[in-house]
Symmetry: C2
């Protein structure tokens, strides 16, 4: 039982006394999803006694590549004259889900009707930053931001989306510092997380690259916010394009994200379709397999060339990269 | 050749065109130490062609646990009435190296003479922040900080230390923001890295926890600074105590640190000897093995109880944890 199974014994820490994911574990080491990772640390609590993590059975959680793409009434990666046409094409190509834009808020019925004609699920609602309102230096704007997010979370819930993608602030949208923004998030997000959970969805923090947002550039940092919030509705995502700029290791980043990770954006180094430049997805996919990722990987990128040719090609490329990601 | 060897194929990215560690690789995927990790991304450059990373031989770099401890003329973890006595004890207990304090700067001969009587190496010089001078809001202080660091790097080189441990600023030592501090480091550290390399040592950035330093809390962030500096003399370390507060995964953090990691501090959750509380080191040690870590793990902690009893006990505990860290 050495080698492979051990790789799934990833430990995770929660600084609070009541970790939401695995309440039976010690605060310093909670089990990642179904894997029995906590054994080592639990045994270590009885200091000096030999720790035998390898003795434990390690059930492996099946992880499959579920592909999604952004598509809206207007715009999106998928070609088509109407939402119906785009969704039909996605289904034909073998997508599992669609990621919609913020125009779905208030127009839920249009999306539900269109998506209802297919077998597609909704992976996420790509919402953005609401002009950085939630972390504005102006308290009134922060209140507005909270209300807007509450409403959007309800939409995400109605659509059955895994989560609502949320960026705290793009550069220039707030005058506050990293520390101040972080504190506001810790003060605000748990309440929004509660609201998300009631709506059957999650708030998903999205780290970007420094050119777009100086605050929240790395997955480990987003994960630490999720940990500090300690609320099952406050989670995060990763985007291969931004990760290519900010992370030194896709594998390390996804392992640090761990259970908090509930969405992934797919784009190449030059932000076109995966496979259209030299960007490898193998290391990142290995990370997704190692953490037992259960949600969607979704195109957010441009396309070089004929979309009807290049998108299926990119899907095949990704499936090949997924196979190469051996853990 | 599937399973275990694949785990060592960790990709790493360098945003610059001239990565210093592996100039023959593509910028997007450079080989980690001796492991042939680049195959996937290199082949992926020829887009759409199936990538067969698993076809490559994967030489495994041997990784051993080399223990060190802080010890100085005054103070340190190791008991003893004099430096000679402390070092003799360390050698007897099976330590591989000693980590000295900043009082070694200007007093190199005392340390060299004492250490020369043993087989111990010098793991690091624990230097600190020089009052945050290098990242001060006052330019004159920044110049002073640079000179002080240059001098200390020479000491580290003379002692044969792997590196000089450097904290950009403890809380309250600078009025600058995260972004400003980071920019100063990118502007300043490459020159200091050159100086370090000439002296035969390295500058080691140390991430702390938020209570001690709001700037630089996570290993992935330190690694991104090292990557952006792109200088072989600018590297980093990790401290299990701070990591316990700031990281969601020791494994993810060390993988993100990767080749930039050249020193590790050992302390338990409550900052006493490893094994004296419930803190597990297995997940972190697995990370060290996965990245092919070649340097020292060094005690920086308090001790509960009789040092002469507890320190050897902790060393045995760590060796046991090391064995449990199966990759």
């Amino acid at each position: 039982m050495k080698g492979l199974p051990q790789m799934f014994q990833i430990e995770k820490r929660n600084r609070k006394k009541t970790p939401h994911t695995c309440p039976k574990e010690t605060p310093m080491s909670i089990t990642r999803r179904g894997f029995l990772a906590g054994t080592a640390a639990s045994a270590a609590a009885a200091a000096w006694s030999p720790v035998r993590a390898a003795d434990s059975p390690t059930p492996k959680r099946e992880v499959v590549l579920k592909l999604s793409s952004q598509a809206g009434i207007k715009g999106g990666v998928i070609p088509g004259a109407s939402l119906d046409e785009k969704l039909a094409k996605m289904e034909k190509w073998g997508f599992d889900a669609v990621e919609v834009y913020r125009d779905a808020v208030g127009d839920e019925k249009t999306y539900l009707d269109a998506i209802g004609k297919t077998q597609l699920k909704v992976s996420a609602v790509c919402f953005g930053s609401i002009e950085g309102n939630l972390v504005s230096e102006i308290p009134e704007k922060r209140r507005e931001g909270k209300e807007t997010l509450r409403r959007a979370l309800e939409t995400a819930g109605q659509l059955g989306a895994v989560g609502l993608i949320y960026v705290p602030a793009f550069n220039g949208e707030t005058k506050l510092t990293n520390q101040e923004i972080r504190q506001i998030l810790l003060d605000t997000l748990p309440e929004l997380g509660e609201h998300a959970a009631k709506a059957g969805t999650k708030l998903l923090l999205e780290p970007l690259n420094r050119k777009e947002a100086f605050f929240l550039r790395q997955l480990a940092d987003a994960a630490s916010i999720c940990r500090d919030c300690n609320n099952p509705g406050v989670c995060m995502m990763g985007d291969f394009y931004h990760m290519g700029i900010e992370e030194t290791s896709d594998l390390g980043a996804f392992i640090s994200a761990g259970d908090y990770l509930h969405h992934v954006h797919l784009a190449s180094r030059t932000r076109v379709l995966p496979g259209q430049d030299e960007r490898s997805f193998v290391d990142g996919f290995r990370g997704l397999k190692m953490v037992g990722y259960q949600d969607y990987c979704s195109f957010e990128c441009g396309v070089r060339g004929d979309r009807d040719v290049e998108i299926p090609k990119s899907m095949a490329f990704l499936r090949d990269q997924w196979e190469l990601a051996v853990v």
